[in-house]
């Protein structure tokens, strides 16, 4: 799982032993324990499947209720009726803008910050990194009340850029941490050659380090994007006008005003809203390749 683990081509040396270990572990087990494992897995799998299946089945059921059932006549009616500008398209577009903005800013700022942290000896480096680690752990969602007050003070309520900057700031500690670790895995010798040629640090960063850690940057980017995409509480408190609200808030409003009667549409909306991040997750799997421990869970 460790995202901090090296995923760049340069890191093959570290990755290889892990693969060997995995191969060794895949050795056959004795039958009874295998049978018990299978039963346990099936049971857990069903428990995880049911709520997911409810969303999927209800979305195609014009007469969906809170109970799970196979639709009598499956249609796309739910999708076509929520697929309007006001209902889904604009909120999804807003989600895209907010998540992309957050991810771009976070990644850009993290890369800049990670470079000196990864490459130079600095007096405050250790304490800075501990500070980052500390900030990573704070339960930021618990403090939306003071955040609201701060936004009143800064006159940033209902401002999409304000929301983006706040979300970027909250994902920064994690992103800096991850980026720095990815950057650490890029051998410094390549830059040293560039320095000798008289290239500036920024030039070395852009021309040598970044291309080598592209998969890592993609992972951080998608990670931040996904967090922003799924965030409900922050835009719920900070964004008010319908033309600014992302899908997370729009779907909550929908649930509040139509939820008790229109479960099918709610499910269809949920699918439209959830699909992009599910696709992105698969992309992370692909990008980080076999060395990415998470892959084990999905690819088996």
């Amino acid at each position: 799982m460790s995202l901090v683990k090296n995923v760049t081509p340069a890191a093959e040396a570290v990755v290889a032993p892990t693969r060997r270990q995995r191969a060794a572990l895949a050795s056959p087990r004795r039958a009874p324990s295998r049978w018990i494992s299978t039963a346990a897995l099936v049971l857990i799998g069903v428990a995880f499947l049911v709520p997911l299946a409810w969303i999927l089945l209800s979305a195609f059921d014009p007469a969906a209720t809170v109970g799970i059932k196979i639709p009598e006549d499956a249609t796309f009616d739910n999708f076509s009726s929520v697929f309007t500008v006001d209902q889904t398209l604009r909120p999804l577009w807003n989600s895209t803008v907010i998540s992309l903005g957050t991810a771009v800013i976070t990644v850009a700022v993290s890369v800049l910050a990670a470079y000196p942290l990864s490459r130079y000896q600095m007096r405050f480096r250790r304490s800075f990194l501990y500070g980052i680690l500390f900030a990573t752990c704070l339960p930021i969602t618990a403090m939306m009340v003071p955040v609201y007050s701060l936004f009143v003070y800064l006159n940033l309520l209902d401002s999409v850029p304000g929301t983006i900057f706040f979300m970027a700031a909250t994902s920064l500690p994690m992103a800096i941490w991850m980026t720095k670790n990815f950057m650490d895995s890029v051998p410094i010798s390549l830059e040293e050659a560039a320095w000798v040629d008289g290239a500036s640090a920024m030039r070395a960063l852009v021309r040598i380090v970044l291309p080598l850690m592209r998969p890592g940057i993609a992972v951080v980017f998608i990670f931040v994007f996904t967090m922003a995409w799924g965030n409900f509480f922050v835009p719920f408190v900070l964004l008010y006008s319908p033309e600014h609200q992302p899908a997370a808030v729009a779907i909550f409003n929908f649930f509040g005003t139509y939820g008790s009667v229109a479960y099918g549409k709610l499910a269809a909306f949920s699918i439209l809203y959830a699909t992009p991040v599910l696709v992105l997750y698969l992309l992370v799997q692909k990008l980080s390749g076999g060395s990415f421990a998470m892959a084990g869970a999905v690819k088996g």
Binding site: V111, F165, V206, R207
Partner: protein, 454 residues
């Protein structure tokens, strides 16, 4: 060379985003260039409550045609009432997001005026010829603590018991039912429970999520029928520790404990109000509802039309606790349109209100949403009284009706009434304990010296 432009792009994005931070306010207020003005209107809209949206859409078209260069930006807040208040309060927190025209409940006016969210409009009203058409009590409803006017009344309402005659027939209850006391109400509910078991006998709101409906349609309809009251107007003090308060909670406790009221997953949900009017009553799943005079509006026309409502539903006055004079009770509230204190162009905002609440649009709204008209020219229009057969009954309740305490603290105290009511529904507290918790909360809000023992 591959990396350089990439970093450049990142930098540009970051810079534009930073710059965007400062000029994002253009969505509200006026735009200096060309004198174009936008008036932002914040109001509530739900599946069960679309009449206001209909009326404002119409007013927008008319207003924009008459006032070139002014755009009406309608911003419906799609939420049940309690969430609506929260969202509105959050928007009012900052002058940039504060709406120019606000759909404001009369009980919120004093509180929001005190908070500085609303603009006094006396000076504009003085020049509006229609203002003379408004009844005196409707003008009163728009007053702030400082005696200035902050809202133009759209209509008022009363509350009473709705009952389903078909279910009553099955339960052996009369078609012209008029209970004389709380016990009579309970007896009818018990008869329904016994004879028509698959129907919910009685709904009295008691959930926090239902918000002001729990306070006003629920608790206050009970309390104001006891010997006690919520607020002593003569002393300007809140009443604590009264027997009537405990008895009212006791009534709620009884109906929820004895399963005369809806199951809790319905009762405590924010959508209970919508469900009562669009599902439970029309589908014959609820026998008696203590609710507001606006309900028939949704049955006469619109998405949730229910043509048979007039034949099926009966109306009865809510009796006082033991039948003491005047025998019945009701509560009246109502909503206004108000101008936000940060409106960049208050004249335009006020002018929009005069369009939205002119005779024609008031007529449209008051009929479609079953409001008791507060404009003389609407109330006396024969087409108005003919529109809805329930008007006569609900207007007659004006003789016995009460108004909520007009103080800025009311909205916070109302929230604490909801807490006590929900404790009855869930059975988490006894009426005595809940009343005690309420007393403590009230003292915390207004201070010991502003309370009196009932």
């Amino acid at each position: 060379m591959r990396g350089k432009p990439a970093l450049g792009i990142l930098g540009v994005v970051a810079l534009t985003a930073l710059a965007g931070c400062s000029d994002d306010g253009s969505s509200s207020g006026d735009d200096a260039s060309g004198g174009a003005t936008t008036v932002k209107v914040a109001y509530q809209k739900t599946t069960a409550f679309h009449q206001l949206d209909d009326m404002l859409q119409k007013a927008k078209t008319e207003f924009e045609a008459a006032h070139k260069g002014i755009t009406i930006d309608l911003q419906p807040i799609e939420a049940e009432q309690d969430q609506y208040f929260t969202k509105l309060a959050l928007m009012n927190g900052s002058d940039k997001t504060a709406p120019d025209v606000i759909y404001e409940d009369t009980f919120q006016i004093r509180s929001d005026a005190a908070a500085g969210y609303l603009l006094p409009i006396d000076e504009y009203l003085g020049k509006w010829e229609d203002w003379g058409q408004f009844y005196e009590n409707a003008k009163q409803a728009g007053l702030g603590d400082d005696g200035k006017t902050y809202g133009v009344s759209m209509g008022t309402d009363t509350r009473a018991l709705f009952y389903n005659k078909d279910i009553f027939a099955k339960a052996g209850l009369p078609a012209d039912w008029q209970p004389k006391s709380w016990d009579d109400v309970l007896a009818a509910a018990r008869a329904v429970k016994e004879k028509v078991p698959d129907v919910t006998p009685l709904n009295v709101y008691a959930g926090k999520a239902a918000g002001e409906a729990t306070t006003m349609q629920g608790f206050e309809m009970l309390l104001y029928g006891t010997a006690d009251t919520l607020y002593d107007t003569d002393q300007s003090k809140w009443v604590v520790g009264s027997q009537g308060f405990k008895d009212s909670l006791g009534f709620l406790e009884t109906i929820y404990k004895d399963k005369l009221a809806p199951p809790l997953d319905q009762a405590l949900d924010a959508s209970i109000g919508s469900r009562v009017s669009t599902e439970l009553l029309p589908q014959g799943k609820l026998a008696i509802a203590l609710d507001g005079s606006w309900l028939p509006g949704g049955w006469i026309s619109g998405e949730n039309a229910w043509p048979e409502w007039d034949k099926t539903m009966g109306f009865a006055k809510m009796p006082t606790q033991n039948g003491d004079a005047p025998g019945a009770t009701s509560m009246s509230g109502g909503w206004t349109l108000a101008v936000g204190s940060h409106a960049k162009n208050p004249q335009a905002a006020f002018d929009f209100i005069t369009t939205a609440l002119n005779k024609e649009n008031t007529f449209k709204y008051d009929t479609e949403n079953s409001q008791i008209a507060v404009r003389k020219d609407v109330a006396e229009d024969p087409a108005y009284t003919a529109y809805n057969p329930s008007f006569e009954f609900f207007s007659s309740l004006v003789d016995v009706t009460h108004f909520r305490p007009a103080t800025p603290d009311y909205s916070q105290i109302s929230s604490n009434i909801q807490v006590a009511a929900e404790a009855m529904a869930t059975g988490q507290q006894s009426p005595e304990d809940a009343a005690k918790a309420y007393d403590t909360a009230v003292k915390g809000i207004v201070g010991d010296d502003k309370t009196t023992t009932g």
